[in-house]
Symmetry: C2
Subunit: 446 residues, 2 copies
């Protein structure tokens, strides 16, 4: 039987594991694909770089453009990452008749539609399970298993570095800097941790999840993004006191149109009566009883709510060479079978074409800690600031007395604009010494 010709672009942490599995699992892969899977080339930057896997020298090439253009490839696996040359290579691979499996979240979140259109035009598959949450099968379930259901919300812990840092802060009482240093020492954070701790990585994944869950096109630039660098040990302690834990969450949710239910006072959808989507990455407190709260260390998990299925959660390692390679190989088997059957998997569907709402119009809840003067009338003044912005308070408790007096307030659902205006008002009150913590709250009954 004609073998399936596979080329791998990139032979770093993930690529070397892909090459290893292609070799070690050859027998099983052949049984599952229905034809031998043959590695015909590996694009690398330097032929003689040290690698975790032995690649026959004849397969290595520093000319990936020539590799993807050779015309006899069935599948190209792109694990270089970044925008260029990855994009040009993927486009060339598709034009030259190959299907593509990629783990490139940045490229997909930045310029997915260009790739999807090229795949559509070429009549080839473009699969990318490995781009979100590593080994955890989440894109395929969203795309296929829930295809007859209506997903209403996706909440993910999709960045292992920040989860490791926040988990350390929670379990040891460490501050952000200290926890970051430990993460770096253990290899969980890079020397320049910006992409992780500022939420860029999570925002790219949020865009991909939102696009799939809501059959719309959402790019990373449309995702509201806040990182975890401002989270203090006091924030974590405050969360702990209310039985909660702080996580960096990637949230994508359907927002009802104006005039229905909770959104009655906002023009949430641009006024045309269809549902919009809110897509955002920010730290938030979630109750310890929530399934996401028990996601420890560098693990990832994605929590999905849908009309019929209810609440589902998918949990596992979110990064690492070998878990990511597992996801790549899973896609490779499907794409390979499709090639042999001269068919394609379900392409991208953006038929719902939902509008991404500005963060200000998104309804959230706040946990606010305010250091106040301990005197009569303060509570009324504070409560007044909330009332003026039409924000209703769920709980208010006083901590400490005298110079340590602090009010801790958890609000009900309100637009993010209302809430941030309320915080501004609080800062202007003479009885307020400092607004010491402002954090969103998720996963709690309103």
């Amino acid at each position: 039987m004609k073998p399936l010709n596979v080329a791998v672009l990139g032979c770093g942490v993930v690529g070397s594991q892909v090459v290893r599995l292609l070799t070690e699992q050859a027998g099983d892969l052949e049984a599952r694909v229905g034809a031998p899977v043959r590695l015909v080339g590996v694009g690398v930057r330097r032929i003689d770089a040290p690698r975790d896997v032995e690649v026959p020298a004849g397969l290595l090439t520093t000319d990936p453009a020539a590799l993807v253009a050779r015309g006899d490839l069935d599948v190209v696996v792109e694990v270089i990452g970044g925008i260029e040359p990855a994009r040009s290579l993927i486009l060339s691979a598709l034009e030259n008749g190959a299907s593509v499996v990629t783990a490139n979240k940045a490229l997909l979140a930045d310029d997915g539609p260009t790739l999807f259109e090229a795949a559509e035009k070429a009549g080839r598959d473009l699969f990318y399970e490995a781009a979100v949450a590593g080994a955890i099968p989440i894109l395929r379930p969203l795309r296929e298993s829930l295809a007859g259901d209506r997903v209403t919300r996706v909440i993910g812990i999709v960045n292992g570095t920040t989860n490791f840092i926040l988990d350390k802060m929670d379990t040891t009482g460490a501050g952000f800097e200290e926890a970051l240093e430990e993460a770096q020492a253990l290899g969980y954070a890079e020397a320049d941790p910006t992409a992780d701790v500022e939420g860029f990585d999570a925002a790219a994944k949020a865009a991909i999840l939102a696009s799939l869950a809501f059959h719309s096109r959402v790019t990373a630039a449309e995702v509201h993004r806040e990182g975890i660098t401002d989270i203090t040990a006091a924030d974590i302690a405050s969360a702990s006191q209310m039985g909660s834990v702080v996580k960096l969450l990637a949230i994508a949710e359907l927002v009802p149109p104006t005039g229905s239910g909770q959104q009655a006072t906002d023009s949430a959808d641009g006024g045309d009566g269809t549902e919009g989507v809110s897509v955002r990455v920010h730290p938030a407190m979630i109750p310890r009883s929530h399934p996401l709260a028990s996601v420890r260390e560098a693990f990832n998990a994605v929590f999905v709510e849908s009309d019929a299925a209810g609440q589902l959660m998918f949990y596992g390692p979110g990064a690492g060479g070998s878990p990511t390679a597992s996801a790549v190989l899973g896609d490779l088997v499907t794409v390979g079978r499709n090639r042999l059957g001269e068919t394609r998997g379900a392409g991208e569907s953006a038929y719902a074409d939902r509008v991404v709402l500005p963060m200000g119009e998104t309804r959230t809840r706040y946990h606010i800690a305010v250091d106040v003067d301990d005197r009569a009338g303060v509570l009324a003044e504070i409560a007044g600031s909330f009332a003026e912005e039409d924000v209703s308070i769920q709980t208010l408790r006083q901590e400490g007395r005298g110079a340590d007096a602090q009010l801790v307030i958890v609000t009900h659902d309100a637009t993010d604009s209302q809430l941030s205006r309320t915080v501004e008002r609080l800062r202007g009150l003479s009885c307020v010494r400092e607004v010491s913590s402002v954090m969103r709250v998720e996963g709690m009954a309103d």
Copy 2:
């Protein structure tokens, strides 16, 4: 565009929700399948039975055999359950050119190969995501997402009734009977709870999971099965004392061949040097830190270990009309797309053809509580019984003194035969008043 003709067999708890979703989600389904999805018939026992959904009278029929044989069906959804007439109807549907989506775990675990061969022969799809763990996408990830990986173990909480009962016993200290009554009162257990509490339901699901995970044919009859009716409040308390919780687990694992590693002393694979599988359902203690320990009430979860991906967990509602219907519809979309594309999904693969090992040869660990005389030499006698069967003890602790003296022992890994022989020896010792609890231990480092 030619619509996709769908017939539904059964309009009970699940069927009525399938019919509801087919109607309510019609627009989305058309966008996702690529053609309108048209409900053309619903097979029921009684036309005038009360149902949760309104079905146009013209679509109802009490002659399902004629419905599946009409020849213009693209997809038949079978949600009647049980062996007959479900099997005959599915076979007839396939012979008449329809693909089939079913939630029928009993039939699949009992006689799956007959159905798979009929689907293969007809060139049609037979999908059954809803048969295991309700709405949780687990079969598709096993079959497709992990297709390039090597699954080594699947541990599932796949029966909501028993999980509800054990969770109640854990949180309230109730005995089995009391917890069962509460489950029945709340609708989580049936009037005759045998299929659930004796582990038959879980065993069918274990057979399906093992077949998929290990590309072999495993039937329910080959699954070692123990239920939860003998679990006492004392067992739960004893588990709690060692930081564990008792769950009814469906376990399917690869067992290394004779001569390699742990299996060195056993003929685990029939002697031909390939890996065998152990498939079993029994209650077991698992540490509270294990992800499965936090699965509460009637929820289900499946924990999967594989070489490359590591540890994954899938969590969600394991039963109920609407969650199960979500899984059915997910399959329906894929099967529908395949019909339009004149292709098929990956069929069943049993190429690995692994041998199911007898329970006696399976390596497990035991937690044993023994009421003993409180006198010198007892410990040596007890330890001697373990030594004679070559079972090594991990921990041994004494509880109480005098007439209340009890020894609690946790063993290392040994064959189930060795362990049960050890328990027999203990029962024969004069210093042993009673072996008060014997339970397997899972998910703990050996």
